[in-house]
Protein backbone atom coordinates (compact mmCIF):
# COMPACT_ATOMS: atom_id res chain seq x y z
CA UNK A 1 0.00 0.00 0.00
CA UNK A 2 1.01 3.60 -0.57
CA UNK A 3 -0.69 6.97 -0.80
CA UNK A 4 -1.51 6.78 -4.54
CA UNK A 5 -2.94 3.27 -4.12
CA UNK A 6 -5.14 4.38 -1.23
CA UNK A 7 -6.26 7.47 -3.18
CA UNK A 8 -7.07 5.40 -6.27
CA UNK A 9 -9.03 2.97 -4.12
CA UNK A 10 -11.16 5.86 -2.86
CA UNK A 11 -11.62 7.23 -6.39
CA UNK A 12 -12.61 3.78 -7.68
CA UNK A 13 -15.09 3.44 -4.84
CA UNK A 14 -16.94 6.53 -6.16
CA UNK A 15 -16.99 5.89 -9.91
CA UNK A 16 -19.79 8.30 -10.83
CA UNK A 17 -18.42 11.28 -8.90
CA UNK A 18 -14.92 10.52 -10.14
CA UNK A 19 -16.10 10.21 -13.75
CA UNK A 20 -18.05 13.49 -13.60
CA UNK A 21 -15.12 15.39 -12.13
CA UNK A 22 -12.82 13.89 -14.73
CA UNK A 23 -15.22 14.78 -17.53
CA UNK A 24 -15.58 18.36 -16.37
CA UNK A 25 -11.85 18.86 -16.12
CA UNK A 26 -11.20 17.03 -19.41
CA UNK A 27 -13.74 19.16 -21.29
CA UNK A 28 -12.14 22.36 -20.03
CA UNK A 29 -8.64 21.20 -20.92
CA UNK A 30 -9.83 19.88 -24.30
CA UNK A 31 -11.50 23.20 -25.18
CA UNK A 32 -8.36 25.15 -24.42
CA UNK A 33 -6.18 22.55 -26.16
CA UNK A 34 -8.24 22.64 -29.39
CA UNK A 35 -8.03 26.43 -29.51
CA UNK A 36 -4.33 26.36 -28.71
CA UNK A 37 -3.52 23.74 -31.34
CA UNK A 38 -5.77 25.15 -34.08
CA UNK A 39 -4.81 28.82 -33.70
CA UNK A 40 -1.14 27.98 -33.37
CA UNK A 41 -1.18 25.86 -36.52
CA UNK A 42 -3.22 28.42 -38.42
CA UNK A 43 -0.86 31.22 -37.43
CA UNK A 44 2.20 29.14 -38.28
CA UNK A 45 0.69 28.11 -41.60
CA UNK A 46 -0.38 31.61 -42.56
CA UNK A 47 2.99 33.03 -41.56
CA UNK A 48 4.75 30.36 -43.64
CA UNK A 49 2.45 30.89 -46.63
CA UNK A 50 2.91 34.65 -46.57
CA UNK A 51 6.66 34.63 -45.90
CA UNK A 52 8.59 36.62 -48.47
CA UNK A 53 5.46 38.20 -49.96
CA UNK A 54 5.50 41.87 -49.03
CA UNK A 55 2.53 43.01 -51.06
CA UNK A 56 -0.29 41.62 -53.14
CA UNK A 57 -1.59 43.67 -56.03
CA UNK A 58 -4.96 42.84 -57.53
CA UNK A 59 -8.35 44.16 -58.46
CA UNK A 60 -9.90 46.77 -56.23
CA UNK A 61 -12.13 45.47 -53.51
CA UNK A 62 -11.56 44.05 -50.07
CA UNK A 63 -7.83 43.92 -49.25
CA UNK A 64 -8.40 40.98 -46.92
CA UNK A 65 -10.25 39.10 -49.65
CA UNK A 66 -7.38 39.81 -52.03
CA UNK A 67 -4.83 38.40 -49.58
CA UNK A 68 -7.01 35.41 -48.66
CA UNK A 69 -7.52 34.53 -52.31
CA UNK A 70 -4.07 35.23 -53.72
CA UNK A 71 -1.81 34.12 -50.85
CA UNK A 72 -3.81 31.52 -48.93
CA UNK A 73 -6.19 30.44 -51.74
CA UNK A 74 -9.11 30.54 -49.31
CA UNK A 75 -11.46 33.17 -50.71
CA UNK A 76 -12.78 34.12 -54.14
CA UNK A 77 -10.61 36.63 -56.02
CA UNK A 78 -11.64 40.28 -56.02
CA UNK A 79 -11.55 40.27 -59.83
CA UNK A 80 -9.00 40.40 -62.62
CA UNK A 81 -6.43 42.98 -63.61
CA UNK A 82 -5.15 43.89 -67.04
CA UNK A 83 -1.88 42.26 -68.05
CA UNK A 84 -0.56 45.64 -69.12
CA UNK A 85 -1.17 47.15 -65.66
CA UNK A 86 0.52 44.18 -64.04
CA UNK A 87 3.57 44.45 -66.34
CA UNK A 88 3.89 48.14 -65.60
CA UNK A 89 3.81 47.51 -61.88
CA UNK A 90 6.33 44.68 -62.18
CA UNK A 91 8.76 47.10 -63.84
CA UNK A 92 8.54 49.56 -60.91
CA UNK A 93 11.96 50.11 -59.30
CA UNK A 94 10.50 49.40 -55.88
CA UNK A 95 9.64 45.85 -56.98
CA UNK A 96 12.32 43.23 -56.67
CA UNK A 97 10.17 40.35 -57.86
CA UNK A 98 6.57 40.02 -59.00
CA UNK A 99 4.98 36.61 -59.36
CA UNK A 100 1.87 36.58 -61.57
CA UNK A 101 -1.21 34.61 -60.57
CA UNK A 102 -4.17 33.76 -62.79
CA UNK A 103 -7.01 32.09 -60.93
CA UNK A 104 -10.49 31.02 -61.81
CA UNK A 105 -10.56 27.27 -62.29
CA UNK A 106 -10.21 24.25 -60.14
CA UNK A 107 -10.02 20.51 -60.27
CA UNK A 108 -12.05 18.56 -57.68
CA UNK A 109 -11.90 21.51 -55.31
CA UNK A 110 -8.17 22.19 -55.73
CA UNK A 111 -7.41 25.56 -57.28
CA UNK A 112 -5.61 25.74 -60.57
CA UNK A 113 -3.04 28.53 -60.32
CA UNK A 114 -1.62 29.97 -63.49
CA UNK A 115 1.82 31.35 -62.68
CA UNK A 116 5.49 31.07 -63.55
CA UNK A 117 8.31 28.92 -62.14
CA UNK A 118 9.13 31.59 -59.54
CA UNK A 119 6.03 30.55 -57.59
CA UNK A 120 7.13 26.96 -56.69
CA UNK A 121 10.67 28.28 -56.23
CA UNK A 122 9.37 30.86 -53.73
CA UNK A 123 8.02 28.07 -51.52
CA UNK A 124 11.13 25.93 -52.00
CA UNK A 125 9.09 23.26 -53.77
CA UNK A 126 10.91 20.24 -55.20
CA UNK A 127 9.58 17.75 -57.67
CA UNK A 128 8.71 14.33 -56.34
CA UNK A 129 7.99 13.07 -59.84
CA UNK A 130 8.10 14.38 -63.42
CA UNK A 131 8.93 17.95 -64.38
CA UNK A 132 7.53 21.47 -64.13
CA UNK A 133 5.23 22.74 -66.85
CA UNK A 134 6.97 23.60 -70.11
CA UNK A 135 4.08 24.51 -72.36
CA UNK A 136 0.42 25.49 -72.05
CA UNK A 137 -1.90 22.84 -70.58
CA UNK A 138 0.94 21.19 -68.65
CA UNK A 139 0.00 20.94 -64.96
CA UNK A 140 1.96 20.24 -61.80
CA UNK A 141 0.15 19.03 -58.69
CA UNK A 142 0.96 19.95 -55.13
CA UNK A 143 1.46 16.91 -52.92
CA UNK A 144 -1.90 17.12 -51.11
CA UNK A 145 -3.81 17.75 -54.35
CA UNK A 146 -2.06 14.78 -56.01
CA UNK A 147 -2.77 12.52 -53.04
CA UNK A 148 -6.44 13.45 -52.91
CA UNK A 149 -7.10 13.26 -56.66
CA UNK A 150 -4.83 10.22 -57.19
CA UNK A 151 -3.60 11.65 -60.46
CA UNK A 152 -0.12 10.79 -61.64
CA UNK A 153 2.30 12.05 -64.25
CA UNK A 154 0.87 11.52 -67.75
CA UNK A 155 -2.78 11.60 -66.67
CA UNK A 156 -5.17 14.09 -68.25
CA UNK A 157 -7.95 16.01 -66.57
CA UNK A 158 -10.48 18.71 -67.38
CA UNK A 159 -10.63 21.84 -65.23
CA UNK A 160 -13.90 23.04 -63.78
CA UNK A 161 -14.74 26.70 -64.01
CA UNK A 162 -14.79 28.44 -60.66
CA UNK A 163 -13.51 27.45 -57.24
CA UNK A 164 -15.08 25.64 -54.31
CA UNK A 165 -18.84 25.90 -54.13
CA UNK A 166 -19.05 28.03 -57.27
CA UNK A 167 -17.67 25.33 -59.55
CA UNK A 168 -19.22 25.33 -63.02
CA UNK A 169 -18.94 23.17 -66.13
CA UNK A 170 -15.77 21.34 -67.06
CA UNK A 171 -13.50 22.73 -69.75
CA UNK A 172 -13.69 19.41 -71.58
CA UNK A 173 -12.42 20.70 -74.90
CA UNK A 174 -8.95 21.47 -73.59
CA UNK A 175 -7.74 18.96 -71.00
CA UNK A 176 -4.66 19.45 -68.87
CA UNK A 177 -1.86 16.89 -68.76
CA UNK A 178 -0.02 16.15 -65.52
CA UNK A 179 3.71 16.66 -66.00
CA UNK A 180 4.88 16.69 -62.39
CA UNK A 181 4.04 16.09 -58.76
CA UNK A 182 5.64 18.26 -56.07
CA UNK A 183 7.05 16.94 -52.83
CA UNK A 184 5.30 18.15 -49.65
CA UNK A 185 6.38 21.63 -48.55
CA UNK A 186 4.04 22.23 -45.61
CA UNK A 187 2.77 25.35 -47.37
CA UNK A 188 -0.20 26.44 -49.47
CA UNK A 189 1.44 25.09 -52.60
CA UNK A 190 0.67 21.52 -51.44
CA UNK A 191 -3.03 22.21 -52.04
CA UNK A 192 -3.00 23.74 -55.51
CA UNK A 193 -2.47 22.71 -59.14
CA UNK A 194 0.13 24.81 -60.94
CA UNK A 195 0.21 25.62 -64.59
CA UNK A 196 1.27 28.46 -66.85
CA UNK A 197 -0.72 31.68 -67.02
CA UNK A 198 -1.29 30.92 -70.70
CA UNK A 199 -3.11 27.71 -69.77
CA UNK A 200 -5.66 29.69 -67.78
CA UNK A 201 -6.12 32.13 -70.67
CA UNK A 202 -6.57 29.22 -73.09
CA UNK A 203 -9.28 27.40 -71.19
CA UNK A 204 -11.31 30.57 -71.08
CA UNK A 205 -11.19 30.97 -74.85
CA UNK A 206 -13.62 29.16 -77.13
CA UNK A 207 -11.32 26.34 -78.09
CA UNK A 208 -12.50 23.41 -80.19
CA UNK A 209 -10.93 19.96 -79.87
CA UNK A 210 -7.88 19.79 -82.11
CA UNK A 211 -7.14 23.56 -82.01
CA UNK A 212 -3.46 24.42 -81.65
CA UNK A 213 -2.90 26.22 -78.32
CA UNK A 214 -0.13 28.37 -79.75
CA UNK A 215 -2.36 29.63 -82.52
CA UNK A 216 -5.20 30.36 -80.10
CA UNK A 217 -2.86 32.35 -77.88
CA UNK A 218 -1.41 34.27 -80.80
CA UNK A 219 -4.90 35.20 -81.90
CA UNK A 220 -5.87 36.60 -78.50
CA UNK A 221 -6.10 40.37 -78.13
CA UNK A 222 -3.87 41.92 -75.50
CA UNK A 223 -6.96 43.20 -73.64
CA UNK A 224 -8.19 39.61 -73.27
CA UNK A 225 -5.09 38.67 -71.33
CA UNK A 226 -5.69 39.20 -67.63
CA UNK A 227 -4.14 38.22 -64.35
CA UNK A 228 -5.73 37.90 -60.93
CA UNK A 229 -2.92 39.17 -58.77
CA UNK A 230 0.78 39.85 -58.44
CA UNK A 231 2.76 38.62 -55.45
CA UNK A 232 5.36 41.29 -54.88
CA UNK A 233 8.65 41.35 -53.02
CA UNK A 234 10.01 44.83 -52.27
CA UNK A 235 13.33 45.91 -53.62
CA UNK A 236 14.10 47.88 -50.46
CA UNK A 237 12.54 48.69 -47.08
CA UNK A 238 11.67 52.13 -48.43
CA UNK A 239 9.31 50.50 -50.90
CA UNK A 240 6.98 49.58 -48.06
CA UNK A 241 6.24 53.24 -47.52
CA UNK A 242 5.89 54.20 -51.19
CA UNK A 243 4.63 51.32 -53.26
CA UNK A 244 1.23 50.62 -51.63
CA UNK A 245 0.28 54.26 -52.03
CA UNK A 246 1.39 54.28 -55.68
CA UNK A 247 -0.52 51.09 -56.42
CA UNK A 248 -3.70 52.23 -54.73
CA UNK A 249 -3.58 55.49 -56.66
CA UNK A 250 -3.87 53.55 -59.94
CA UNK A 251 -6.29 50.95 -61.23
CA UNK A 252 -4.96 48.26 -58.85
CA UNK A 253 -5.29 47.62 -55.16
CA UNK A 254 -2.39 46.84 -52.83
CA UNK A 255 -2.78 44.65 -49.77
CA UNK A 256 -0.18 43.63 -47.19
CA UNK A 257 -0.36 39.92 -46.23
CA UNK A 258 1.24 40.60 -42.83
CA UNK A 259 -1.21 43.40 -42.01
CA UNK A 260 -4.28 41.56 -43.30
CA UNK A 261 -3.31 38.32 -41.51
CA UNK A 262 -2.88 40.21 -38.27
CA UNK A 263 -6.23 41.93 -38.85
CA UNK A 264 -7.90 38.60 -39.51
CA UNK A 265 -6.52 37.15 -36.27
CA UNK A 266 -7.60 40.25 -34.39
CA UNK A 267 -11.12 39.74 -35.72
CA UNK A 268 -11.07 36.03 -34.94
CA UNK A 269 -9.33 36.79 -31.69
CA UNK A 270 -12.48 37.97 -29.89
CA UNK A 271 -14.23 34.67 -30.58
CA UNK A 272 -11.12 32.68 -29.74
CA UNK A 273 -10.70 34.55 -26.45
CA UNK A 274 -14.35 33.94 -25.54
CA UNK A 275 -13.96 30.22 -26.21
CA UNK A 276 -10.67 30.15 -24.30
CA UNK A 277 -12.31 31.90 -21.35
CA UNK A 278 -15.07 29.30 -21.52
CA UNK A 279 -12.41 26.58 -21.31
CA UNK A 280 -10.86 28.23 -18.24
CA UNK A 281 -14.30 28.52 -16.64
CA UNK A 282 -14.78 24.79 -17.22
CA UNK A 283 -11.42 24.04 -15.60
CA UNK A 284 -12.23 26.25 -12.60
CA UNK A 285 -15.67 24.65 -12.32
CA UNK A 286 -13.97 21.27 -12.31
CA UNK A 287 -11.69 22.52 -9.53
CA UNK A 288 -14.73 23.62 -7.55
CA UNK A 289 -16.36 20.27 -8.18
CA UNK A 290 -13.25 18.45 -6.94
CA UNK A 291 -13.25 20.71 -3.87
CA UNK A 292 -16.92 19.94 -3.15
CA UNK A 293 -16.39 16.22 -3.75
CA UNK A 294 -13.41 16.08 -1.39
CA UNK A 295 -15.16 18.21 1.24
CA UNK A 296 -18.20 15.94 1.14
CA UNK A 297 -15.90 12.94 1.25
CA UNK A 298 -14.45 14.26 4.51
CA UNK A 299 -17.78 13.73 6.24
CA UNK A 300 -18.21 10.28 4.71
CA UNK A 301 -14.65 9.36 5.53
CA UNK A 302 -14.30 10.79 9.00
CA UNK A 303 -14.18 7.29 10.46
CA UNK A 304 -11.65 6.13 7.87
CA UNK A 305 -9.45 9.14 8.56
CA UNK A 306 -9.75 8.58 12.31
CA UNK A 307 -8.85 4.92 11.86
CA UNK A 308 -5.85 5.88 9.78
CA UNK A 309 -4.70 8.20 12.54
CA UNK A 310 -5.34 5.37 15.00
CA UNK A 311 -3.17 3.10 12.87
CA UNK A 312 -0.31 5.58 13.04
CA UNK A 313 -0.81 7.96 10.14
CA UNK A 314 0.66 11.39 10.77
CA UNK A 315 -1.41 14.52 10.13
CA UNK A 316 0.88 15.24 7.19
CA UNK A 317 0.19 11.84 5.69
CA UNK A 318 -3.57 12.35 5.89
CA UNK A 319 -3.15 15.74 4.26
CA UNK A 320 -1.00 14.19 1.55
CA UNK A 321 -3.64 11.52 0.98
CA UNK A 322 -6.28 14.07 -0.01
CA UNK A 323 -3.83 16.16 -2.01
CA UNK A 324 -2.75 13.05 -3.92
CA UNK A 325 -6.42 12.36 -4.60
CA UNK A 326 -6.91 15.86 -6.01
CA UNK A 327 -3.68 15.53 -7.99
CA UNK A 328 -4.66 12.12 -9.37
CA UNK A 329 -8.00 13.50 -10.55
CA UNK A 330 -6.30 16.52 -12.07
CA UNK A 331 -3.58 14.47 -13.80
CA UNK A 332 -6.11 12.01 -15.21
CA UNK A 333 -8.35 14.91 -16.28
CA UNK A 334 -5.41 16.66 -17.94
CA UNK A 335 -4.35 13.56 -19.87
CA UNK A 336 -7.93 12.79 -20.87
CA UNK A 337 -8.48 16.43 -21.84
CA UNK A 338 -5.34 16.54 -23.99
CA UNK A 339 -6.26 13.28 -25.73
CA UNK A 340 -9.77 14.60 -26.31
CA UNK A 341 -8.38 17.94 -27.49
CA UNK A 342 -6.08 16.30 -30.02
CA UNK A 343 -8.87 14.04 -31.27
CA UNK A 344 -11.24 17.00 -31.69
CA UNK A 345 -8.51 18.98 -33.46
CA UNK A 346 -7.95 16.05 -35.82
CA UNK A 347 -11.70 15.84 -36.52
CA UNK A 348 -11.74 19.60 -37.19
CA UNK A 349 -8.63 19.18 -39.38
CA UNK A 350 -10.25 16.36 -41.35
CA UNK A 351 -13.31 18.54 -41.99
CA UNK A 352 -11.08 21.43 -43.16
CA UNK A 353 -9.00 19.13 -45.32
CA UNK A 354 -12.15 17.75 -46.95
CA UNK A 355 -12.96 21.32 -48.02
CA UNK A 356 -9.37 21.98 -49.13
CA UNK A 357 -9.11 24.61 -46.42
CA UNK A 358 -6.11 25.37 -44.24
CA UNK A 359 -4.92 22.02 -42.91
CA UNK A 360 -4.99 21.50 -39.15
CA UNK A 361 -3.89 18.27 -37.56
CA UNK A 362 -4.41 16.75 -34.12
CA UNK A 363 -1.10 14.92 -34.36
CA UNK A 364 0.94 18.02 -33.64
CA UNK A 365 2.05 18.95 -30.12
CA UNK A 366 2.57 22.38 -28.62
CA UNK A 367 4.93 23.16 -25.75
CA UNK A 368 2.13 25.22 -24.23
CA UNK A 369 0.26 22.00 -23.51
CA UNK A 370 2.65 21.45 -20.62
CA UNK A 371 1.21 24.65 -19.14
CA UNK A 372 -2.24 23.15 -19.45
CA UNK A 373 -1.07 20.10 -17.50
CA UNK A 374 0.47 22.42 -14.90
CA UNK A 375 -2.79 24.41 -14.73
CA UNK A 376 -4.84 21.24 -14.19
CA UNK A 377 -2.45 19.99 -11.48
CA UNK A 378 -2.53 23.38 -9.76
CA UNK A 379 -6.33 23.35 -9.80
CA UNK A 380 -6.31 19.83 -8.35
CA UNK A 381 -3.92 20.76 -5.55
CA UNK A 382 -5.69 24.01 -4.67
CA UNK A 383 -9.07 22.24 -4.65
CA UNK A 384 -7.70 19.57 -2.31
CA UNK A 385 -5.76 21.82 0.07
CA UNK A 386 -8.59 23.00 2.34
CA UNK A 387 -10.26 19.57 2.67
CA UNK A 388 -6.80 18.08 3.23
CA UNK A 389 -5.99 20.60 5.96
CA UNK A 390 -9.34 19.91 7.65
CA UNK A 391 -8.72 16.17 7.43
CA UNK A 392 -5.34 16.59 9.08
CA UNK A 393 -6.82 18.62 11.97
CA UNK A 394 -9.66 16.20 12.73
CA UNK A 395 -9.57 14.70 16.23
CA UNK A 396 -9.45 10.91 16.35
CA UNK A 397 -10.79 9.94 19.72
CA UNK A 398 -14.18 11.72 19.56
CA UNK A 399 -14.90 10.12 16.18
CA UNK A 400 -13.95 6.63 17.35
CA UNK A 401 -15.84 7.18 20.61
CA UNK A 402 -19.01 7.95 18.65
CA UNK A 403 -19.14 4.22 18.06
Amino acid sequence: MNLPQISFAYLRAKPLATALNLLLLALGIATIAVLMLATRQLEERMTRDARGIDLVAGAKGSPMQLVLSAVFHLDAPTGNIALADARELAKNRAVKRAIPLALGDSYRGFRIVGTNHDYPAHYGARLADGSLWAKPMDAVFGSEAARATRLKVGDQFAAAHGVGASMGDDHDALPYRVTGILAPTGSVIDRVVLTSVESVWLVHEHVEPGDEPAKVLAAMHEEQKELTALLIQYASPLAAALLPRQVNAGPLQAASPAYESARLFRMLGVGIEVLRAFGFVLVLTAGLSVFIALTNALEERRYDLAVMRMLGASRGKLMALLVVEGLALAAAGAVLGLVLGHLLTEVLGAALRAQQQVPVTGWAWAVEELWLVALALAVGVVAALLPAWRASRAEVAPVLAEG
Binding site: M1, I6, A9, D304, V396, L400, G403
Partner: protein, 193 residues
Amino acid sequence: MLSLKGVRHRYGAQEVLRIERFEAAQGEKWLVLGPSGSGKSTLLHLIAGLLEPSEGTVEAARPVGIVPQKLHLISSLTVAQNLLLAQYLAGVKQDPARAAQVLASVGLAERAAARPRELSHGQAQRAAVARAVMNRPRLLVADEPTSNLDDAHCAAALDLLETQAAECGATLVVATHDARARPRFEKRLELGA
Protein backbone atom coordinates in the same frame (compact mmCIF):
# COMPACT_ATOMS: atom_id res chain seq x y z
CA MET B 1 3.68 -3.22 30.32
CA LEU B 2 1.04 -0.61 31.10
CA SER B 3 1.09 2.00 33.84
CA LEU B 4 -1.24 4.90 34.67
CA LYS B 5 -0.47 7.29 37.52
CA GLY B 6 -2.73 10.07 38.73
CA VAL B 7 -4.61 10.21 35.48
CA ARG B 8 -7.46 12.66 35.08
CA HIS B 9 -9.21 13.40 31.84
CA ARG B 10 -11.70 16.15 31.24
CA TYR B 11 -13.81 17.26 28.28
CA GLY B 12 -14.18 20.95 29.03
CA ALA B 13 -15.04 21.25 32.69
CA GLN B 14 -16.44 17.77 32.93
CA GLU B 15 -14.12 15.11 34.31
CA VAL B 16 -14.79 11.82 32.54
CA LEU B 17 -12.00 9.68 33.94
CA ARG B 18 -10.04 9.49 37.18
CA ILE B 19 -7.53 6.70 37.85
CA GLU B 20 -5.05 7.10 40.71
CA ARG B 21 -2.93 4.09 39.87
CA PHE B 22 -3.17 1.22 37.45
CA GLU B 23 -0.48 -1.23 36.37
CA ALA B 24 -0.60 -4.25 34.09
CA ALA B 25 2.37 -6.54 33.51
CA GLN B 26 3.37 -7.68 30.05
CA GLY B 27 1.14 -10.52 28.84
CA GLU B 28 -1.62 -10.01 31.40
CA LYS B 29 -5.31 -9.97 30.43
CA TRP B 30 -7.40 -7.15 31.87
CA LEU B 31 -11.09 -6.44 31.70
CA VAL B 32 -12.23 -2.83 32.09
CA LEU B 33 -15.84 -2.82 33.21
CA GLY B 34 -18.28 -0.02 33.56
CA PRO B 35 -21.55 1.36 32.32
CA SER B 36 -21.87 3.69 29.36
CA GLY B 37 -20.27 7.07 30.07
CA SER B 38 -17.90 5.66 32.71
CA GLY B 39 -14.83 6.54 30.62
CA LYS B 40 -13.95 3.12 29.21
CA SER B 41 -13.36 4.38 25.66
CA THR B 42 -11.47 7.39 26.99
CA LEU B 43 -9.20 5.06 28.97
CA LEU B 44 -8.51 2.96 25.85
CA HIS B 45 -7.75 6.06 23.81
CA LEU B 46 -5.37 7.32 26.49
CA ILE B 47 -3.64 3.93 26.54
CA ALA B 48 -3.44 3.88 22.75
CA GLY B 49 -1.96 7.39 22.69
CA LEU B 50 -4.91 8.84 20.76
CA LEU B 51 -5.58 11.22 23.67
CA GLU B 52 -3.28 13.07 26.05
CA PRO B 53 -4.46 12.94 29.67
CA SER B 54 -5.50 16.24 31.25
CA GLU B 55 -3.34 15.24 34.22
CA GLY B 56 -1.07 12.35 35.13
CA THR B 57 1.06 9.96 33.12
CA VAL B 58 0.33 7.02 30.91
CA GLU B 59 3.14 4.61 30.06
CA ALA B 60 2.30 1.87 27.60
CA ALA B 61 4.42 -0.60 25.65
CA ARG B 62 4.39 0.11 21.90
CA PRO B 63 3.12 -0.68 19.41
CA VAL B 64 -0.50 -0.75 20.44
CA GLY B 65 -3.10 -2.68 18.45
CA ILE B 66 -6.66 -1.31 18.62
CA VAL B 67 -9.97 -3.01 17.83
CA PRO B 68 -12.54 -0.17 17.76
CA GLN B 69 -16.13 -0.86 18.68
CA LYS B 70 -17.44 -0.23 15.15
CA LEU B 71 -14.43 -2.09 13.64
CA HIS B 72 -14.01 0.64 10.98
CA LEU B 73 -12.40 -1.37 8.24
CA ILE B 74 -11.63 0.83 5.23
CA SER B 75 -14.42 -0.09 2.84
CA SER B 76 -12.60 0.81 -0.37
CA LEU B 77 -9.75 -1.61 0.38
CA THR B 78 -9.71 -5.39 0.46
CA VAL B 79 -9.26 -7.25 3.74
CA ALA B 80 -5.60 -7.94 2.94
CA GLN B 81 -5.06 -4.29 1.96
CA ASN B 82 -6.57 -3.20 5.27
CA LEU B 83 -3.89 -5.25 7.02
CA LEU B 84 -1.09 -3.90 4.86
CA LEU B 85 -2.40 -0.38 5.43
CA ALA B 86 -1.78 -0.86 9.15
CA GLN B 87 1.88 -1.59 8.38
CA TYR B 88 2.19 1.26 5.89
CA LEU B 89 0.69 3.88 8.19
CA ALA B 90 2.79 2.70 11.12
CA GLY B 91 5.91 2.99 8.98
CA VAL B 92 6.55 -0.74 9.12
CA LYS B 93 7.86 -2.60 6.06
CA GLN B 94 4.86 -4.14 4.31
CA ASP B 95 4.84 -7.90 4.47
CA PRO B 96 2.11 -9.67 2.46
CA ALA B 97 3.26 -13.03 3.89
CA ARG B 98 2.60 -11.74 7.40
CA ALA B 99 -0.87 -10.57 6.29
CA ALA B 100 -1.63 -14.02 4.86
CA GLN B 101 -0.41 -15.68 8.06
CA VAL B 102 -2.49 -13.41 10.31
CA LEU B 103 -5.60 -13.85 8.16
CA ALA B 104 -5.11 -17.63 8.28
CA SER B 105 -4.79 -17.49 12.07
CA VAL B 106 -8.18 -15.73 12.36
CA GLY B 107 -9.79 -18.03 9.79
CA LEU B 108 -10.03 -15.51 6.98
CA ALA B 109 -7.45 -16.91 4.55
CA GLU B 110 -10.12 -17.31 1.89
CA ARG B 111 -11.47 -13.78 2.35
CA ALA B 112 -8.24 -11.85 1.78
CA ALA B 113 -9.49 -10.31 -1.47
CA ALA B 114 -12.98 -9.57 -0.16
CA ARG B 115 -14.21 -6.04 0.54
CA PRO B 116 -15.43 -5.33 4.08
CA ARG B 117 -19.04 -5.01 2.89
CA GLU B 118 -18.84 -8.60 1.67
CA LEU B 119 -18.03 -9.91 5.15
CA SER B 120 -20.42 -11.05 7.86
CA HIS B 121 -20.19 -9.19 11.19
CA GLY B 122 -18.20 -12.06 12.69
CA GLN B 123 -15.78 -12.06 9.75
CA ALA B 124 -15.44 -8.27 9.91
CA GLN B 125 -14.62 -8.51 13.62
CA ARG B 126 -11.96 -11.12 12.93
CA ALA B 127 -10.55 -8.88 10.18
CA ALA B 128 -10.40 -5.95 12.63
CA VAL B 129 -8.54 -8.12 15.15
CA ALA B 130 -6.19 -9.28 12.41
CA ARG B 131 -5.46 -5.65 11.52
CA ALA B 132 -4.82 -4.83 15.17
CA VAL B 133 -2.24 -7.62 15.58
CA MET B 134 -0.61 -7.09 12.18
CA ASN B 135 2.28 -5.09 13.65
CA ARG B 136 2.85 -7.57 16.53
CA PRO B 137 1.57 -5.20 19.24
CA ARG B 138 2.90 -5.26 22.78
CA LEU B 139 -0.49 -4.05 23.93
CA LEU B 140 -3.85 -5.05 22.41
CA VAL B 141 -6.95 -3.05 23.33
CA ALA B 142 -10.52 -3.81 22.31
CA ASP B 143 -13.52 -1.52 22.78
CA GLU B 144 -16.84 -3.34 23.40
CA PRO B 145 -15.88 -6.36 21.30
CA THR B 146 -18.94 -8.37 22.36
CA SER B 147 -21.69 -5.81 21.93
CA ASN B 148 -24.69 -7.10 19.98
CA LEU B 149 -23.28 -10.63 19.84
CA ASP B 150 -25.07 -13.77 21.00
CA ASP B 151 -23.38 -15.95 23.59
CA ALA B 152 -21.61 -18.18 21.09
CA HIS B 153 -20.20 -15.27 19.09
CA CYS B 154 -19.35 -13.42 22.31
CA ALA B 155 -17.24 -16.36 23.42
CA ALA B 156 -15.66 -16.67 19.96
CA ALA B 157 -14.73 -12.97 19.92
CA LEU B 158 -13.07 -13.14 23.33
CA ASP B 159 -11.31 -16.40 22.39
CA LEU B 160 -9.91 -14.71 19.32
CA LEU B 161 -8.60 -11.72 21.26
CA GLU B 162 -7.01 -13.90 23.91
CA THR B 163 -5.41 -16.20 21.35
CA GLN B 164 -4.02 -13.36 19.27
CA ALA B 165 -2.74 -11.45 22.28
CA ALA B 166 -1.04 -14.60 23.51
CA GLU B 167 0.58 -15.20 20.11
CA CYS B 168 2.03 -11.69 20.18
CA GLY B 169 2.89 -11.85 23.88
CA ALA B 170 0.79 -8.70 24.22
CA THR B 171 -1.02 -7.33 27.23
CA LEU B 172 -4.76 -7.50 26.51
CA VAL B 173 -7.14 -4.81 27.70
CA VAL B 174 -10.81 -5.32 26.88
CA ALA B 175 -13.30 -2.59 27.73
CA THR B 176 -16.95 -3.62 27.96
CA HIS B 177 -20.15 -3.21 29.89
CA ASP B 178 -21.03 -6.82 28.97
CA ALA B 179 -21.13 -8.89 32.15
CA ARG B 180 -20.69 -12.10 30.14
CA ALA B 181 -17.01 -11.28 29.77
CA ARG B 182 -16.44 -11.04 33.52
CA PRO B 183 -15.76 -14.77 34.28
CA ARG B 184 -13.00 -14.98 31.65
CA PHE B 185 -10.80 -12.32 33.24
CA GLU B 186 -9.13 -12.61 36.60
CA LYS B 187 -7.87 -9.03 36.49
CA ARG B 188 -10.54 -6.41 36.29
CA LEU B 189 -10.70 -2.64 36.52
CA GLU B 190 -14.12 -1.33 37.40
CA LEU B 191 -14.97 2.24 36.38
CA GLY B 192 -17.88 4.07 37.97
CA ALA B 193 -20.50 6.07 36.09
